[in-house]
């Protein structure tokens, strides 16, 4: 049965290969020139420059000393910044799991029971994510603050006698990350659930599978691609996030993004900032590479 399932599903989603066209001599540079320029000059060159700077020394006044050193890199691998990297990984992982747990039922509900309201339900997930990122995080901050809505409500109800410490904790940072990136989990999940063949679900039920068994044996394996795509779309930006920890974590919860931003914009220490940025970029690319390698490429392509 497995092979027929796969072949029908793959067949439905395979895009038509464009017909091969004869290429004229200048056609490739004409079409590809502008993007090659942008990527070459404004993506690769700046990254190579900061890679270069990350091996340079910093003088006493934060100026760049053109001498080779490995100190910047070793400081990151050592305990100083290593802990922040670990915190970031932990927070990103936690966020990913919560997004999956919250996003899956939501995507399933929209795909299965959305009916004529599907477009509206999807729009209601997208709209908040389009509206003023900063202002929404700010609102979250006012809700969670010492004199915020949650504490005021709990105090007035007499449930607590002193305001809860919510702001500037790892918990609120994670809530903020989930809040920001949840739509990126829901949309690919919804796309893969939409692509599910209803006949397969009926077959599972007819053959006597309980709803729970049907979910774990049929639905979840078939939407694996969506789970992986959503996880990548959440994990990657979460790991490099800066605004959420900066606004909600304050000085108490630091992520790598905070360190990079601090070195570049406040401390003005370019070699340290560069090495942190390069390390972050390398970590992300490695994570993405492993996710695609282990996650199955065909699953990714089916969604994206």
């Amino acid at each position: 049965m497995g092979t027929t399932v796969n072949s029908t599903l793959l067949h439905r989603n395979t895009p038509k290969e464009p017909k091969k066209k004869k290429t004229f001599p200048l056609e490739v540079p004409l079409y590809m020139g502008p993007i090659t320029f942008i990527v070459g000059v404004f993506v690769f060159a700046p990254l190579l420059i900061i890679l270069f700077y990350s091996f340079l020394k910093t003088g006493n006044y934060g100026e760049i000393v053109y001498e080779f050193t490995l100190k910047n890199i070793s400081a990151i691998l050592g305990a100083g910044y290593g802990g922040v990297f670990l915190t970031s990984f932990y927070l990103a992982f936690q966020t990913n799991v919560i997004c999956l747990l919250v996003g899956y039922p939501l995507a399933y509900y929209i795909a299965r029971y959305g009916g004529q309201y599907k477009v509206l339900l999807i729009s209601m997930i997208i709209i908040p994510s389009w509206v003023a990122y900063l202002i929404r995080l700010y609102a979250l901050k006012t809700i969670a603050g010492n004199k915020g809505l949650i504490n005021t409500l709990l105090l007035n109800l007499g449930i607590i006698s002193e305001p809860l410490e919510i702001l500037y904790t790892p918990f609120i940072v994670m809530v903020g990350l989930v809040y920001t990136w949840l739509p990126f989990m829901v949309l690919p999940l919804h796309a893969s659930l939409e692509g599910l063949e209803p006949a397969l679900l009926e077959a599972a039920t007819d053959l006597g599978a309980s709803p729970v068994r049907r979910f774990f044996r049929v639905i979840l394996p078939l939407t694996r691609g969506g789970v992986i795509a959503g996880s990548i779309l959440v994990f990657i930006p979460t790991l490099g996030d800066w605004l959420v920890p900066a606004l909600l974590g304050g000085a108490k919860v630091m992520m790598v993004g905070n360190l990079v931003a601090f070195q570049f914009t406040v401390a003005g220490n370019i070699p340290t900032g560069s090495s942190l940025a390069i390390m972050l970029a390398a970590t992300l690319i490695l994570t993405l590479y492993l996710a695609i390698k282990w996650g199955g490429k065909e699953a990714m392509e089916r969604i994206v």
């Binding site: 038509k16 464009p18 017909k19 066209k21 056609e27 490739v28 079409y31 502008p34 993007i35 942008i38 990527v39 404004f42 993506v43 700046p46 990254l47 420059i49 900061i50 996003g103 039922p105 399933y108 509900y109 929209i110 299965r112 029971y113 729009s123 209601m124 997930i125 997208i126 709209i127 908040p128 389009w130 509206v131 003023a132 990122y133 900063l134 202002i135 929404r136 700010y138 609102a139 979250l140 006012t142 809700i143 603050g145 004199k147 709803p211 790991l239 490099g240 800066w242 993004g257 990079v260 931003a261 570049f264 914009t265 370019i270 900032g273 560069s274 940025a277 972050l280 970029a281 992300l284």
Partner: protein
């Protein structure tokens, strides 16, 4: 069998909670933008005075105009380059295509702090571009064009290319085919990319914060600077207007899409 009827209800409940979570902060912004409380964090009765104050606020007007200019230029340039690139990637076969495709993904994957930091160092230390309009617009084009490429490329796979072949077979030359057939075929894809990129560029804070320098305040940067001084009702009014504009824009886009489908 009872279980079967219970499942949709549980799912509906969970979904409602998720929607509540996503919308609660937005609703808080809207409600407090009408509150008389002068810190904008509690309900002290209804007022419209913050909206009046917003209209008088020169700094906001300045920042808004700057953001609109930057987003408009970014949309035009990145959609144009995005269209050309996507068309080339879709139609042409050449050496190094895979590498180029992967490279285009790079700005999408990179965190804002890395792109922002790298561009800041590049602009100030290497090519000496003044921080302000030039640096902000270049940075926005850098992170928007890849998005345009992939949005348009994705939509291209749904286009019926037989129209193009038909035009050529009927004797139209390449240029005429492109203007009269390919262009209109690509229009929905181009619109989709523009609709995505405009708010993306308008709303960008992180990268802009790195490369804007002093004095080039865009709207998100203005909002950020206001937050540092503590709660001000101005932020709530800006946020509430954002929500309104986004919803109207989304309805307009849907209406246009429906109409263009009807005429086809």
């Amino acid at each position: 069998m009872k279980r079967k009827k219970l499942a949709p209800k549980i799912l509906a409940g969970l979904s409602f909670m998720a929607y509540f979570f996503l919308w609660a902060p937005v609703l808080v912004i809207i409600v407090f933008s009408f509150s008389a409380n002068r810190y904008g964090v509690a309900w002290d009765g209804f007022t419209m005075k913050w909206y009046g104050a917003l209209l008088q606020n020169v700094a906001v007007k300045d920042a808004l105009i700057r953001s609109l200019i930057i987003a408009s230029v970014t949309v035009v340039v990145s959609t144009l380059i995005g269209t050309i690139t996507a068309y080339g990637l879709y139609k042409l076969h050449f050496r190094g295509k895979r590498f180029l495709r992967t490279s285009i993904l790079l700005p999408i994957i990179m965190p804002g702090v890395v792109t922002g930091g790298a561009l800041l160092v590049f602009f100030t230390r290497v090519i000496h571009i003044p921080l302000g309009y030039p640096s902000i617009i270049i940075a926005h084009i850098v992170f928007s064009t890849p998005l345009a490429v992939f949005v348009i490329l994705g939509r291209m796979q749904r286009i019926n290319w037989a129209w193009e072949e038909a035009a050529m077979d009927l004797g139209a030359n390449r240029f005429r085919t492109f203007v009269r057939v390919t262009g209109p075929l690509l229009m929905p894809a181009i619109m989709a990319s523009a609709v995505l990129i405009f708010p993306w560029s308008f709303d960008d804070f992180v990268i802009t914060y790195f490369v804007s320098g002093i004095g080039s305040t865009t709207l998100p940067i203005y909002v950020f600077s206001q937050m540092r001084f503590g709660a001000t009702p101005v932020i709530n009014t800006i946020g509430a207007l954002f929500v309104a504009v986004t919803i109207v824009a989304l309805f307009l886009q849907r209406a246009i899409e429906k109409r263009s489908k009807a005429t086809l």
